[in-house]
């Protein structure tokens, strides 16, 4: 088990290095550089050339990459030109906000998806299943940013039940009960928007797994043992159907990153996604590269997590 995990971790190292190179090269290939957008237009050409030289922007790309990578390894992603602060510091606050958003969304995704999937699969083709399946089709067809906008408009703007932006009420002392409550209040609507759309995949997947498992021979064996339906479902059908869902958990993280980019923008929630779009607009490349690299690493780790979970829950691929 440990050997397997360590081996998988070792494999991810070259993946991450490759990812960093691609991210860096792509950023370099984009038009303009850090000095194009934000410097004083009255500055003379000589002065700009001098600054270029000083910042190492005239070096060949591999030297620049080496310097950048050396910084990254030490947790230094450079300066943000927009905010005039170290990227690491800037991102850190945003990462925490996004973490809470993702956590609450994930809980909601499973809190909604598991019961709906189970009911839908157990009573397939009955009315209740048709209603749930109808919802999943609607969810598949609705882009999350449209849904988020409508939710914001109805519950935030018209009904005023939820705040329409930010991550916390200003003027509250961090750590107090009111502060946490306010944070949660700000999280609910964006999380719910992500979850209601994001969960439809889980519902559909679980439904088809259950329908599939229901027809397996070992379910007949269980019934032939004299097991009551409740036991047949709980011990045999659900447990076996939830396995691929559990294994999918790691990949769910990747989806959350994608989903939160739009949702954070719509709810002006100060998270990574929001920062990402803003930085692209302003050509704040040191922030963009940092964020892309971070999301990439998260995706790789998510896939790793899925592999590990699967090997833990499924005895057929258990590593000894």
């Amino acid at each position: 088990m440990w050997k397997f995990t360590v081996r998988r971790l070792l494999i991810t190292t070259p993946q991450i290095i490759l990812l960093s190179a691609i991210v860096f090269i792509l950023a370099k290939m984009m038009p303009g550089d850090a000095l194009t957008g934000l410097i004083d237009p009255t500055l003379s050409q000589e002065r700009i050339a001098e600054m270029r030289e000083k910042l190492g922007l005239n070096n060949p790309w591999y030297i620049q990459y080496r310097d950048w990578l050396a910084g990254v390894v030490q947790g230094d992603f450079g300066q943000s030109f927009k905010y005039q602060m170290p990227v690491t510091e800037l991102i850190w606050q945003r990462v925490i906000n996004t973490f809470w958003l993702s956590l609450v969304s994930t809980i909601m995704i499973y809190a909604i998806g598991l019961p709906l999937g189970i009911v839908s699969g157990r009573y397939n083709d009955r009315l209740i299943d048709q209603l749930i399946t109808g919802y999943t089709y609607l969810g598949f067809a609705t882009p999350v940013f449209i849904f988020g906008l409508v939710a914001l408009w109805i519950f935030g703007f018209m009904l005023g039940w939820f705040p329409t932006g930010g991550s916390v009420e200003p003027g509250l002392e961090p750590g107090t009960f009111e502060y946490i409550l306010s944070k949660l209040h700000h999280l609910l609507l964006p999380s719910l928007s992500i979850a209601l759309i994001g969960t439809v995949g889980t519902v559909q997947y679980l439904r088809s797994e259950i329908i599939d498992t229901k027809q397996r021979d070992f379910i007949i064996t269980a019934r032939a043992k004299g097991a009551p339906e409740r036991r047949v479902y709980n011990r045999h059908i659900f447990r076996n159907s939830i396995l691929p869902i559990a294994a999918f958990f790691g990949y769910e993280i990747i989806n959350l990153i994608n989903g939160s980019i739009f949702i954070e923008q719509i709810f002006s929630y100060p998270g990574m996604g929001n920062l990402f779009i803003e930085s692209i607009m302003l050509r704040d490349y040191s922030v963009v590269t940092a964020l892309v690299l971070l999301s990439g690493i998260l995706a790789i780790l998510g896939a790793l997590l899925s592999d590990i979970i699967l090997s833990v829950v499924d005895p057929r691929i258990r590593i000894k």
Binding site: A224, G226, E229, N240, L243
Partner: protein, 340 residues
């Protein structure tokens, strides 16, 4: 004679296709006594498994008419809750495919344990484990303590079938239904499994319904044989009579389609055609008539019934009196002409 262990009377099991119900088991009556092996033979689609599932109450959406008396109690259409007291307990089943009949995510020991938890709830856990290991020994699984914690995929097909047998006999059933228990196994393993089943049957003194299409298995195991065709029983007799003096055209065709080592025939007999699908089963007249077209129509009864031609030997329809095998060589010539 005392009451039979299992008495099936006029059982009719129908499945719904579209708006109508079609009977897969049509008016079947059978008895099974203690310590008796009744084999049910027939081609695929003849209704053997549907019959077994009806007795176990395992059909999901079938209409079951008629009576199934188990130890004098009618268990046909019994509510699931009532039925669960019998299933896995006095009445148990061995399945066809050991590769799929076990839950892949549960240790072997726990799968056997389940049937004990369900029917012997007052047995403490440590005792159950001891008993399960005894059971594994009883079905001749080597290293039972080790196998107790293994998963099905770590065992071979033969071993898995032994585990399934262990589950079936865990509560000393009085009636054991074996649905093609050796079909998915290779021949050497088949013989071992059959030996084991026979031993266990003698130990437990239980009745066995053995469903198979393998006449070799029948010859080895059965006391009596019921031959099914298209949902009906066409012939019942004790095993010696059936093999030595088969009467119904279907039984005779089946027997003459077995290759024999000491009888160097040029060609095996082939029953032309297939069992019609459920929806297209003939519901009137002799159901086998379509596959023996060279027999004249007046040889068949209009409403074929079972006739007792000697004590305990029943044959359906009157066509058996007029049946003969066609001259295969001549027939082949005809085929060749037709082809060219």
């Amino acid at each position: 004679m005392s009451n039979p262990l299992l008495e099936i009377k006029n059982l009719k099991t129908s499945f719904r296709i579209g708006e109508k119900y079609y009977a897969a088991v049509d008016d079947v009556s059978l008895n099974v006594n203690e310590n008796e092996v009744l084999a049910i033979v027939g081609e695929s689609g003849s209704g053997k498994s549907a019959l077994a599932f009806s007795v176990m109450g395992l059909h999901n959406r079938a209409k079951i008419e008629g009576d199934i008396f188990f130890k004098g109690k009618n268990i046909a259409n019994l509510p699931t809750k009532e039925m669960n007291k019998f299933r896995g307990n006095e009445l148990s089943m061995i399945f066809q495919d050991p590769l799929t009949a076990l839950n892949p995510l549960m240790e072997v020991g726990r799968q056997i344990d389940e049937v004990l938890i369900l029917h012997k709830s007052n047995m403490p856990k440590s005792q159950r484990k001891k008993y399960i290991i005894e059971l594994l020994e009883r079905v001749e699984i080597p290293r039972p303590k080790h196998v107790y914690n293994q998963f099905p995929h770590e065992l071979s097909g033969g071993m898995r079938q032994r585990v399934i047998i262990a589950i079936a006999i865990a509560n000393q059933p009085e009636l054991l239904i074996a649905d093609e228990p050796t079909t998915a196994l290779d021949v050497t393993i088949q013989a071992q499994i059959l030996d084991l089943m026979r031993e266990l049957k003698d130990d437990l003194n239980s009745g066995v319904v053995l469903i198979t299409h393998d006449l070799g298995v029948v010859a080895e195991m059965a006391d009596r044989v019921a031959v099914m065709y298209a949902g009906e029983i066409v012939e019942i007799a004790d095993v010696d009579t059936l093999f030595n003096n088969p009467q119904h055209p279907y039984t005779r065709s089946l027997l003459s389609s077995i290759p024999l080592l000491d009888d160097a025939q040029d060609k095996l007999h082939v029953i032309h055609g297939i069992v019609p699908s459920l929806k297209h089963l003939p519901r009137e007249g002799c159901r086998f008539s379509a596959r023996i077209p060279w027999i004249e129509e007046d040889a068949h009864e209009e409403q074929p019934t079972l006739h007792e031609i000697s004590p305990g030997h029943f044959v359906r329809c009157t066509c058996y009196k007029h049946f003969y095998f066609p001259d295969e060589s001549k027939e082949d010539q005809n085929h060749d002409v037709a082809k060219s």
